[in-house]
Symmetry: C2
Subunit: 288 residues, 2 copies
């Protein structure tokens, strides 16, 4: 499934002769840098759980990966986290320079909306459902969503903030785009309101679990498996779950959230939630 | 009309309690910094020329101003043009810092799509027309449009490039968003294909004229009227129309493009193109 995403991502890039070479190369560099493709897998699996059209879901899956990739490029910039490496490769601005990296991020975000806008004409997804998907992407990736979480993250320093603030950061910086992915897959498959609500709850819970697990791995993970340096949160004085409630309680919280997420999903009368449940378990047990 | 845009822009910002204060302030700072509101006026005037719903057009008008404002914030960054002033006020990153400025730009771009996605539900604009507006915005503001023009602009240095490259820059960096504005106003008012084509031609011509006039004003304009330093293109070794064809021929070109744009418009059987024609004349004669 993840290879399918990578290959379709390449197909969805604008034709190279329509775009300046450096921009096109810079966009591709980060899109093709690998990663778990978690959000695309969630779109595809949510759509599959309701027996929906997988081709249309693949389009939305690639769009959400473009949004995720843009957020990583901007996040790594010198003015933000100032990271030289991501997934074991040089970050975008280290290869193409800051100006091109900023613009490549802008271009990926904008191009994601382009690809979603095509789903009605290309795959016959109901026009009003496509508008709902666009509405939710712009909410959950925008100022009330991911960008708001990113700002809060920059401002959240140890000793200066509390657990409620950390939850705001985690929910908006991470869970929002995960929730979006599940809702988009559901909407493409024609989910009813009750099913959408279950997908939303599942996303919120596993999104928060995912981010707490990230906090844990940043503290005690294996740098080789992670492809990045650990202890960066401590160095940058960022607030984390282990900082507030300790390592053991953080692990218990990840398990509890995963269990609650799975329960919400199982209550929703989906055709086949098996792949979504597998993803939740995979995230719980991951070491990178 | 421009006051109406400014006041509605404030209404369309996400509620402040849903967004971290610094983000919300930074977005507002640049949105409320004034400017000609040219693109919103084009949306409203194109819609008016066909007797369409002005309330719906105001929503799209504000969205395009958000996109324009995001592009200025990113354009001014130290990694790009490194400008300290814009419209006589400190640039966003000089007030809020680079990280917040980058994120405020990201948030404005994303929030623009949110506002357009609401036009079907709020004002009954046909769902397929709204999808076409989203498709065109993402094309004309994305890698094949404005962002592509921005990259080409960064790469276009005197002595290293030619007039065709300069036209690519001007068309994509400036005309694309102007064309989008006209098409959006037309689509909201239910324009037919022939009328959309006339609006497109009008936009391309006056957009190019607008940018050549900018080149001219950068060379010989009055700094007080412009609210920014002149001769910046020369200092930054950027290619311009006067650089390639001289000042007199550049002025003649602005007049010719304006005339051709107006002719295209007059051929399209619009109810009342008068305000669009006034805008073309205003742009031709402006000194700032």
């Amino acid at each position: 499934m993840s290879d399918q995403v990578t290959s379709h991502l390449a197909d969805l890039m604008p034709s190279e002769w329509l775009v300046p070479t450096s921009l096109s190369e810079s966009m591709n560099y980060s899109l093709m840098a690998g990663g778990k493709r978690l959000r695309p897998l969630l779109v595809l699996s949510a759509c599959e759980s309701l027996g929906g059209n997988q081709e249309a879901a693949l389009e939305a899956a690639c769009a959400v990966e473009m949004v995720h990739t843009y957020s990583l490029i901007h996040d790594d910039l010198p003015a933000m986290d100032n990271d030289d490496y991501r997934r074991g490769k040089l970050t975008n601005h280290k290869v193409y320079g800051e100006a091109t990296a900023i613009l490549a991020g802008d271009a990926l975000l904008t191009h994601a909306f382009y690809n979603i806008s095509q789903m009605h004409r290309k795959y016959g997804v109901n026009a009003e459902s496509v508008l709902s998907i666009i509405e939710e992407l712009s909410e959950m990736a925008g100022p009330r969503g991911m960008v708001g979480g990113q700002i809060a993250d920059m401002e959240g320093e140890q000793g200066l903030t509390d657990l409620a603030h950390l939850q705001y950061i985690h929910i908006h910086k991470t869970s929002d785009l995960i929730v979006f992915s599940l809702l988009a897959g559901g909407r493409i498959a024609g989910a009813n309101e009750y099913q959408l609500q279950a997908l939303r709850t599942f996303g919120l819970k596993i999104g928060l679990a995912f981010q707490i697990q990230d906090d844990i791995l940043d503290l005690i993970g294996d740098e080789n498996k992670l492809g990045k340096k650990t202890q960066s949160d401590v160095e940058q004085q960022k607030v984390t779950y282990p900082y507030f409630i300790g390592l053991d309680a953080s692990r218990t919280e990840v398990e509890k959230l995963t269990r609650e997420g799975k329960e919400a999903l199982l209550s929703a009368d989906l055709n086949d939630p098996s792949r979504l449940l597998e993803i939740a378990d995979y995230l719980l047990n991951r070491d990178h």
